[in-house]
């Protein structure tokens, strides 16, 4: 029989080693866990905050803005696009608001067109993107103006890394031009294509509901210029405002409701083909 160390020595060593490993592992887990918990605790309130619900700290006298677009009235003249461009110095090739033209053909095809965002109206027939499968003109159609939806659950504010994108107490979503780093994450996160990177200022830009006008008691430029009264803007927390009365008496839809962004820009007369 070969000499062996006593069993108690060996088990003593392995037990000690085991305890050492446990202690090290325990310390690591504790540190890791502490870091994770602290981060979560710091993050969670902000996670809820970014969702910005209409808030329990607001009273009935606070103004909350809303926008309503009646697509049954829009004639596609493009006045809104031109007015917005001039009012807000929007660079060429980019749009804070635009109008889409939907054309339905007898064979069931649908085409959508927004040449220059509707800047020159839709009058010139060659702009129509008639599908190759038919020579017939469309059987029906309508226009859909679009702009920033100023969502309640904004995906754009959620992803802004520096807090440059924010929401005012009236519910208007804005970009701070001094803090934006121009990463473009908000542009990617907006499901509606409302945002763009301004090539001149190199920051994110979008419709502001003409914040500089509405805070002075004026209406946004696009609302004022619309000759068909297809755009309505106002205080949705005032039940007597025009917009509140319209919202209460019409069937109202929003774009991409399935995404859960809860837009404040609502529509009358939206068709299922409008995405």
């Amino acid at each position: 029989m070969s000499p062996r160390s006593t069993p108690s020595d060996e088990s003593e060593i392995t037990r000690r080693k085991f305890l050492e490993v446990c202690a090290e592992a325990g310390a690591s887990i504790f540190v890791f866990g502490a870091v994770v918990c602290t981060t979560a605790k710091l993050m969670l309130p902000s996670l809820a905050e970014a969702r910005s619900p209409d808030g329990s700290d607001k009273d009935a006298n606070d103004v909350i803005y809303g926008f309503l677009i009646d697509t049954t009235k829009c004639i596609g003249c493009g006045s809104c696009v031109r007015a917005c461009k001039a009012e807000n110095n929007v660079p060429d090739g980019y749009y804070r608001t635009w109008v889409e033209q939907y054309a339905f053909y007898e064979n069931g095809e649908v085409t959508v067109n927004s040449a220059s965002g509707g800047l020159n109206g839709f009058a010139d027939a060659p702009q129509l993107d008639i599908p190759e499968t038919t020579d017939e003109p469309p059987v029906r159609g309508f226009f859909v103006p679009k702009l920033c939806n100023h969502c309640i659950n904004t995906p754009c504010i959620q992803v802004c890394p520096v807090g440059a994108s924010y929401k005012t107490k009236e519910g208007v979503v804005l970009v701070d031009p001094q803090r934006c780093i121009g990463c473009g994450y908000c542009v990617q996160a907006c499901p509606f294509g409302s945002r763009y990177l301004n090539p001149e200022t190199r920051i994110a830009d979008k419709c502001t509901w003409c914040y500089h006008r509405i805070t002075k008691g004026l209406q946004p430029a696009c609302v004022v210029s619309c000759p068909a009264k297809a755009r309505i803007f106002g205080n949705v927390s005032d039940p007597n405002s025009e917009i509140s009365r319209l919202l209460a008496s019409n069937r109202v839809q929003v774009l991409k409701s399935y995404l859960g962004t809860n837009p404040r820009t609502r529509y009358i007369g939206l068709d299922s083909e409008v995405l």
Binding site: E49, S79, A86, G141, G163, A164, D176, Q178, H212, V224
Partner: protein, 172 residues
């Protein structure tokens, strides 16, 4: 200290770096950041401060009262003055000889600081027929056919304003 000496120095270095970071942060972040939410609070006032460029048609009445009256009482009162003529802020400012330097070129390009009207392009925006427009909006399919049908002579330079008063649509 012994075997910890190099760690102590490393940690000292890291502490200095952290301190530098925090002092840069204190200098770089505006004091009002975070007071209203995760953004710079004074941005709101800055966003609200910009001067509106569209003044509204009522502002035109002061100097252009007869046109204003004809327009507001006529059939063409739905489109606003600034729809065809462009925003009026710069025009009012240049006419009253205020400084216009603060305004970027986009609305500064034109003489009298107003968009020049062509007498035809602005009309086509609404009145050239597309299939979706309501029947109540009077529109035409082609300028040439309309001119000829109404007994005029069509040339390449024909304008709607040759026959129609742009502010009331009344045929002259």
């Amino acid at each position: 200290m012994g075997r910890w000496k190099h760690f102590v120095r490393l940690l000292a270095l890291l502490a200095m770096a952290a301190g530098a970071f925090l002092s840069f942060r204190a200098m770089a972040v505006p004091k009002d950041f975070g007071t209203l939410g995760h953004f710079r609070a004074s941005a709101i006032a800055e966003a609200a401060a910009r001067e509106p460029r569209h003044l509204g048609s009522k502002e035109c009445e002061d100097c252009h009262d007869s046109i204003y009256v004809a327009w507001s009482e006529g059939k063409h009162s739905k489109p606003q003055c600034e729809n065809c003529h462009g925003p009026g802020l710069l025009h009012v400012k240049t006419v009253s000889e205020d400084s216009t330097d603060a305004y970027p070129d986009r609305i500064k390009r034109y003489p009298k600081a107003l968009q020049p009207t062509t007498g035809i392009q602005e009309c086509k925006w609404c009145h050239l027929k597309t299939f979706e427009r309501p029947a109540t909006l009077k529109s035409i399919n082609s300028v040439q056919r309309h001119v000829e049908k109404t007994g005029g002579t069509y040339t390449a330079g024909s304008k709607c304003t040759d026959c129609h008063d742009p502010h009331t649509t009344v045929v002259k």
